[in-house]
Symmetry: C2
Subunit: 282 residues, 2 copies
Amino acid sequence: MGECDFKVTIVGLGLIGASYGLALKKLSYKNVSGLDISSEILIKAEERGIITKGYLSAKEALKDSDLVIIALYPNETINFIKNNLNNFKSGVIITDTAGLKEEIVTKINSILPKDLEFIGGHPMAGREGKGIDMASGEIFKGASYILTPVKENSEENVELLSNLAYSMGCIKVIKIDPATHDNMIGYTSQLPHILAITLINSNECDSIDSFVGGGFKDLTRIAINNSSLWSELLIHNKHNLINSIDNFQKEVENIKRALINGDENFIKERFEEANIKRKGIQ
Amino acid sequence: MGECDFKVTIVGLGLIGASYGLALKKLSYKNVSGLDISSEILIKAEERGIITKGYLSAKEALKDSDLVIIALYPNETINFIKNNLNNFKSGVIITDTAGLKEEIVTKINSILPKDLEFIGGHPMAGREGKGIDMASGEIFKGASYILTPVKENSEENVELLSNLAYSMGCIKVIKIDPATHDNMIGYTSQLPHILAITLINSNECDSIDSFVGGGFKDLTRIAINNSSLWSELLIHNKHNLINSIDNFQKEVENIKRALINGDENFIKERFEEANIKRKGIQ
């Protein structure tokens, strides 16, 4: 069976799930079901060709599915699998897309029967906003895709997901253990979200519009996001995140102390160090 | 005399000064001199048509000049005017481009003879990097231009600079007192620079490249900048800036406390507030 003949089911047709559907459509997958709690969303998804068929019933949607892509919040992801252990087809590959991995991978593997396989995934793809109306098959282009295989996973199925990510346009697939993922993502993704919303929220001025330049806009772009999802992600990764916040706060305090002391050299050195480090990031 | 026949002198052919030259060229200004300490830069500027003539001597460059645009660092701006009080033509309009206004405007006006006029200016235009090679006449397009007129200024000359900014492509000219400028800019421009460099510098991981997404890149783009200029700007505006840093740190502490307490609702509310505020910014 070629992979395009796989029966795929996407669970949750939000921004990521619906974008997955559009990407699979471009790759000529012929059998992509969608499962959602909203019939309105399902109709929209069918009309736009994001999925070939929509389901409100998990049992029906999962019945013949070879590959299940769960695009839900972390808690929902765990609960969905827990509640549907008997609905998956034997031999299925299940993956998710949540930006949090250790808790999800551990909890799911502790309850999963041997004939079902779960491989944690995190496409580093996204965009402002949320929901099916913001979906685009292009979001994977140029992105990194993280997979967090563990001892329960087979090399063959990990490679299958890796190849799928590349074929959707991802430029890099990283395989890393779930705990390292959460530690890195706390710093590279969650901390920036906190900084973006805090910069906006710490404004004490009336009207800043006229004084806002490209830098301020760049720093606050990701403040437009899915607040329910992000607050859940942050809470679940708090141990890593609090550490990243502490490191950040210490650095800001160093700058503040240098300002108080008029230590222009220290500040200049920090700018220079950042300049070099930022240029090193592709 | 039409304004395009004005003799203009640009002092300092870095990113902003040279960009000014290119913008004036597009507006058909026929007589734009450049003053710089580097003959190499002057030759480059002449060759590229950024200026019509280059000077190493301030006395010669300023002699017949109707409009002098100083594109130097804050300290240099003050010193340049102080050292050349006798070289300006009577009736000249002098403006600057530094992202700091109160100290500059006050110090310059305290030493300026009545027949010379200084109007503080701050084009909210810039780009990554620095120097003549990064210059572009396009940087003013869509930008705000701040003027900080004081009682010593004539309405007519402020209008002249305002019209010039609009003709270069700025979409908004804001006239505001120098102290308010420095307070606003501390929050909307200087604080974001501190956050950008601190995010980069607070990294304790070895290799983050694979985990870096669009958000991290957006937040750190302005970490590539002119470190000498920015450290000087920050030190001079430290009273406003320390206040902005304190507000920011308090907000981050609130988030951190909510993480420790598992208060997901608080975090969600902060995200929602930021979401709304950010959408309100054009």
